[in-house]
Symmetry: C2
Subunit: 195 residues, 2 copies
DNA sequence: GTCTATATGTTGATAGAC
DNA sequence: GTCTATCAACATATAGAC
């Protein structure tokens, strides 16, 4: 489909040159079209960003699903989901920064688009609850505050990696290579008391 | 000075509408000028970003210095510097995102500008060493890896706060209010063994 | 339906008049 | 110092060929 071709080019552009470097004219050039022709497929440049946002969300959810298929709800799935999100973000820096930051002035994804990722977030939130109920973590770990802290830790490693050493891999990156240490720090912090 | 007036307007614009919303024409409008006139003061729009970057760095360093003046090198100063950086970032979201992320395609601050902030980072790195030597932290905490993990934690809380709830204060923010919990988690993780 | 041609308004930037 | 004039590239929009 032509729309998907255009999105492929758009994705390549933001990956190579940054989210803010995307223009309608640039996509049109890559497709051998005139810029106005693209307005039959997208309502505006913001519309392209919206489709990219939706595409990124779906791809990320698929990637996390694949990585955690053999897992049961609980702590292990929570941790592996996080690793999967970080690996995907390093491999897709353009889409990742569109998903996790607000790099485009005035761009807000449609609420419906936002909901795609929300299910994944809620599953991780539920994994945290299960972990606390199973005794993998302390009972007080089952809270929105602890969950926000957990997400902020991985988001911090990820954004620092993308900002400071964007060409590195997940395994070798100065920040992403600290992921397991950070996850262990979190798990130890909220470990159940040995009473 | 006219340059500083222009930078005041530029700073207001990126604070109100985001780093990517800054244009030469917008600054000129705010000053009652025509856009070409501004090119007597700045070599380009990237030049404006460069001055904003330098200004943000100087202000942040001053703010951290003020907040830690009564502290000796060591763990307490490291923690209070971090709180100061986060408070300043929430109060100056435009400048902060310019300093800590790479939101402008193609914009890289001059090396000289970058060096201003480097002294502050090095001081915090030294505080981590002192903390380990004094026994406030374990000896193995004195490493670049642990320091990167430390900075990533606060950067994560900060960027999540700015991206998801930008209008909140440091004290009440859903993420920044977790700062002391996160710092304590870090300190406990690298606490000296009770041997 | 899909595209081209064309038009408007805005942007970053330069040259040169006053 | 500030302006006008000017340019190329941009987002956006509409009219109309095929």
């Amino acid at each position: 489909m032509t729309v998907n071709e255009a999105l492929d080019h758009a994705e390549r552009i933001i990956t190579e040159r940054g989210v803010g470097a995307l223009t309608v004219a640039e996509i049109a050039r890559a497709m051998g079209m005139r810029p106005p022709s693209l307005y039959k497929y997208f309502s505006s440049l913001h519309g392209v960003y919206d489709e990219l946002f939706a595409r990124g969300n779906k791809r990320l959810v698929s990637h996390v699903d694949d990585a955690t298929q053999s897992y049961q709800p609980g702590l292990d799935r929570l941790l592996e989901s996080t690793r999967a999100i970080m690996r995907w973000s390093i491999l897709n820096p353009g889409l990742a920064s569109l998903l996790f930051w607000r790099p485009i002035p005035g761009f807000q994804p449609r609420a419906e688009t936002h909901a795609i990722a929300e299910t994944m977030v809620q599953r991780s939130r539920a994994d945290l609850s299960v972990a606390a109920q199973k005794g993998s973590l302390a009972p007080n770990a089952d809270s929105d505050e602890v969950f926000r802290l957990f997400t902020a830790i991985s988001a911090g490693l990820c954004s620092q990696q993308l900002a400071n050493e964007p060409q590195a891999t997940y395994e070798t990156g100065l920040f992403t290579s600290l992921t397991d240490e950070a996850l262990d720090m979190f798990v130890q912090r909220y470990a159940p008391s040995p009473s």
